[in-house]
Amino acid sequence: MLGSTKFVCKNIWKLFGPDAEKFLTKNPNPSLEEIKQAGLIPAVRDANVEVEEGEIFVIMGLSGSGKSTLIRCMSRLIEPTHGELMLDGVDLRNISDKQMIEIRRHKLGMVFQHFALLPHLNILKNVAFPLTIQGVSVREAEKRAEQVIELVGLKGYNKSYPRELSGGQQQRVGIARSLAVEPELWFLDEPFSALDPLIRREMQDEFLRLQAMLKKTIIFITHDFDEAIRLADRIAIMKDGKIIQIATPENLILNPADNYVEEFTKHVSRAKILSVKSVMSSTLCDSEEEVDGSAKIVDVAEQIVATKTPIRVVQNGQAIGSIDAKKIIEILVKQV
């Protein structure tokens, strides 16, 4: 069910260095200077995230911003110094190792930047691997593996070995492998960063196609703002270990939290992201034509510019405002 909270990170801290835990208990909310003075290296500072069921939640940051550490804290590959992790209301930091293994086997999936395929196994065995770890019989595991391999478009490659495939194909295997166990929470750690730009776009489309079908809850890491904008339902921007803003792509562009965020938004093509209703004026008007409020500017720009007078904006058959050519041209010109 869409809209309910699936996964919560509360006050996640990760400091590297000796006695980091003691330091945090003494001073639960230290400043950057205080941390550095104590000889500790801050990787994640007080991260708070709530991910909704079926949402693509993108964490975007440049290298060294702490995004990789954060996703590793979320999956408990790295133990956070402080904080709570709740998956479906279960406190992940307060369960036994055995329970954690069970949750990883059945509820979590992860895709890695450099694919992390096992070099000694062929594609079929690689994809079936997580299932065999659970104790599923080889025959059943391989049957399921064949299905997901077909799903990612690699039918016929079963007997190939990872190094015989291209980077894009390898990552398809990585995706197939993490989907084989039908995870509920799907971590993707810069999955397309190691790929060529053309392949990257193709893989993003493929990813969106899969998500439209599977509707997983997704936490996606990237350093590429365009990629974040393209894929995300919501984006968290990280800098120096801190999340500075969490917002939808549209909101991020309209209301950047600070100059740092604004700097990123300057270079994206706004017309593709902004919807008509986010830039219209609320004065109603009469016109022969009308546009849908949730349509992206880029799709209706031609129609609006061709009309001299303002056009009515409607949503669910009701007029909610108006928009004119001047506004559209302003948006189109502003983008670089």
């Binding site: 694919f115 992390a116 997580p130």
Partner: protein, 669 residues
């Protein structure tokens, strides 16, 4: 005060002065001691000797006679280990060499003969073809054929049997320790320290306690082989597991692997490459150990070499020695081919019928069975016919005889010249330096290169040597080893430089040192003994041959890998070739050259115990005597003394090399 002291030590004149002072003290030590009426100054008194060796020996006695773990005694424990190792060994030995028998003494009946030579030959050829190619099959087949034709078959099979048992045990233990260390950092630290120490203690030193605990026989030899061969497996396993891509490890954890699954289904298979390197090293070291192991009861080729050496039978020893080398080459190539094959398993298998798919297996089984059945009537199927065996033994013996008859005077002249003009002065000098003064110098050296920690280490280690009453033997050790290293460096450095600046010469020198390296250390001893007879000189030549390799290799590497920009800078400044070499390449290669000399010293020290066979009087001899008497305390003390000399030399030189690297900015302080 400290600062002035340091400046003084940095001056070259300080060291020259110290040397002259030492020389004067050494010359007059006797007189001074007499004058002061303090003989202990020159000779460490017997009464002051601390009986470490007696303690160790009585501890060992207690261990074997009284020690008990509650449920069972120590002796029962060692016997259980022997029994466990003996069973598979007996089986493989029966298979390859002795045949299966029943009954005892006179009633002994052979139930089944061992595998026929044809069968074994077919088996290894098939294995080589399966692992790689017809070419490898040809090489391996030829090697085994050599063993049969030159009459080494029976001994070789005994040796092979011990390798077949020792290698899996060594690999298994190495894997276990390596994996445990991977998950337990504290254990890893302890293990690394032990492995470092094991590398410097000569093998002989731990032969003695093994002999004491497990008795004389093939089982002791197997245990010694495993202890000698397993350490590189431990190191390679740790290295292999650590080198696995962290993402792959993360993937394993995210998939919900238990630790067992993570180890055996992810980490080990993903790093099989490196683990196979370790396995290969275990195999090579097991073969290196063949001769030494025969001193505590292994039969086979090693025993042949050892007994020929004792009989001074040059031909026999050489033949058996070469057989070891050939066996080693064959097994090495075979195991390397398997290592590569393991990694590229994706050869596409086409599905033929069962018969053609397993045709190699069928052929080998066919040959084995027919040899077994028809071997009863046609003995040449079972054993290689004696009439067709060849021997090169007489050729080698004759060659040496010829050299001795015609060139004896020349050899003798060289020997006497070097002995009188070079070796004896060093020996006399070292022996006459009072022990207290020597310890002081070692401590100062430690301070100069490694600060107070190294000074303290040197002080304690040299005190250990003197307190245990092996000072004179230690000095002879240093003399023998030092003289060898000086000559090895004098030959090795120019060869290394030549190899670096001239590609053609480099190739020839490469082949030369590769050959030196594959020969088992004993093999050097035989011809040298024949030409120069028994004594220090012979020992020195054998040590030089054995220890030359790293001096050449490191020098060549260091000189060759000078930063090309610096050489260009030299050329642009108008330097001649000679100037670039002496002013740029050599100084920059200095740290690497120092490390090469360090390795040379380590190899020289490890060779000492082997040269004890030709009648040296150093610590090596002490260990050797302890071995023949199974005197654990004596052997361990002498072994530790050698190890301490090695450690002191190693630390001083490494620290010096590090200082040089820091000065050149190749390494951060």
């Amino acid at each position: 005060m400290m600062k002035t002291f340091n400046t003084i030590m940095n001056s070259i004149w300080f060291w020259i002065g110290l040397f002259i002072l030492t020389y004067i003290i050494a010359m007059d030590a006797k007189n001074i001691a007499e004058y002061l009426n303090a003989p202990w100054l020159t000779k460490y008194p017997k009464d002051w000797i601390f009986p470490t060796k007696t303690y160790i020996s009585s501890f060992m006695n207690w261990l074997i006679e009284d020690a008990s773990f509650g449920l069972f005694t120590f002796t029962e424990f060692t016997r259980a280990i022997s029994w466990t190792i003996e069973q598979p060994y007996k089986f493989v030995l029966a298979l390859l060499s002795s045949g299966f028998t029943s009954g005892f003494g006179k009633n002994i009946v052979q139930i089944l003969p061992p595998l026929s030579w044809l069968g074994v030959l077919a088996f290894v050829i098939a294995l080589a073809h399966y692992a790689k190619s017809w070419f490898l099959a040809f090489i391996v087949g030829l090697s085994f054929l050599y063993l049969a034709v030159f009459g080494q078959w029976d001994s070789a099979m005994i040796t092979l049997a011990s390798v077949v048992i020792a290698v899996p045990i060594g690999v298994g233990l190495g894997l276990m320790f390596g994996i445990y260390a991977y998950y337990h950092p504290l254990f890893e630290k302890i293990l690394n320290a032990i492995l470092d120490l094991m590398q410097t203690i000569p093998i002989f030193a731990y032969l003695v306690p093994i002999l004491f605990m497990f008795g004389f026989g093939p089982v002791s030899a197997l245990i010694a082989t495993v202890i000698y061969a397993a350490p590189p497996m431990v190191r390679n396993t740790m290295l292999a597991l650590k080198s696995v891509d962290p993402e792959i490890k993360d993937f394993g954890i995210m998939t919900g692997c238990t630790r067992f699954q993570l180890t055996w289904r992810i980490l080990v298979p993903a790093s099989l490459n490196q683990i196979m390197v370790g396995t290969n090293q275990v195999i090579m070291l097991s073969l290196n150990m063949v001769i030494i192991a025969s001193m505590i009861g292994a039969g086979g080729l090693g025993f042949d070499v050892l007994s020929s050496l004792r009989r001074l039978d040059i031909g026999g020893g050489f033949e058996a020695g070469i057989a070891i080398v050939i066996l080693a080459i064959a097994i090495d190539r075979l195991s390397q081919a398997f290592a590569v094959r393991q990694v590229q398993i994706n050869k596409k298998h086409k599905d033929y019928g069962v018969l053609s798919r397993y045709k190699r297996t069928f052929i080998v089984i066919g040959i084995l069975l027919s040899a077994l059945i028809f071997g009863q009537f046609l003995p040449f199927l079972q054993d290689f016919p004696k009439a067709y065996e060849l021997s090169t033994g007489t050729f080698w013996s004759d060659l040496i005889k010829y050299l001795n008859i015609n060139y004896f005077d020349y050899f003798e002249a060289v020997k006497i010249f070097l002995l009188k003009g070079f070796m004896l002065p060093i020996k006399r000098f070292l022996l006459s330096v009072p022990w207290g003064w020597m310890i002081l110098i070692l401590t100062i050296l430690g301070w100069k290169f490694g600060g107070w920690k190294l000074a303290l280490l040197n002080l304690l280690m040299s005190l250990f040597i003197v307190i245990n009453g092996v000072w004179d033997k230690a000095m002879i050790t240093i003399y023998l080893c030092g003289a060898s290293v000086i000559i090895a460096a004098a030959i090795g450095l120019p060869l290394g430089i030549l190899a670096a600046v001239n590609d053609k010469a480099g190739k020839i020198i490469g082949v030369f040192i590769d050959t030196l390296q594959t020969l088992p250390s004993f093999v050097y001893l035989i011809p040298v003994v024949m030409l120069f007879r028994i004594g220090d000189f012979t020992a020195m030549i054998a040590i030089i041959l054995y220890a030359l390799v790293p001096a050449v290799r490191y020098t060549a590497h260091g000189v060759k890998n000078t930063n090309p920009e610096l050489i260009e800078a030299g050329i642009v400044s108008g330097a001649t070739k000679w100037q670039t070499l002496t002013k740029i390449r050599l100084p920059l290669a200095l740290p690497e050259i120092l490390l090469g000399i360090n390795q040379t010293i380590m190899l020289a020290l490890s060779m000492l115990v082997i040269t004890a066979l030709v009648g040296t009087r150093d610590l090596g001899q002490e260990v050797y005597i302890a071995l023949t008497k199974a005197d654990t305390g004596r052997g361990l003390v002498a072994g530790l003394a050698i190890a301490f000399i090695a450690i002191m030399a190693d630390r001083i030189i490494s620290a010096g090399a590090k200082k040089a690297r820091i000065r050149y900015g190749m390494e951060a302080e």
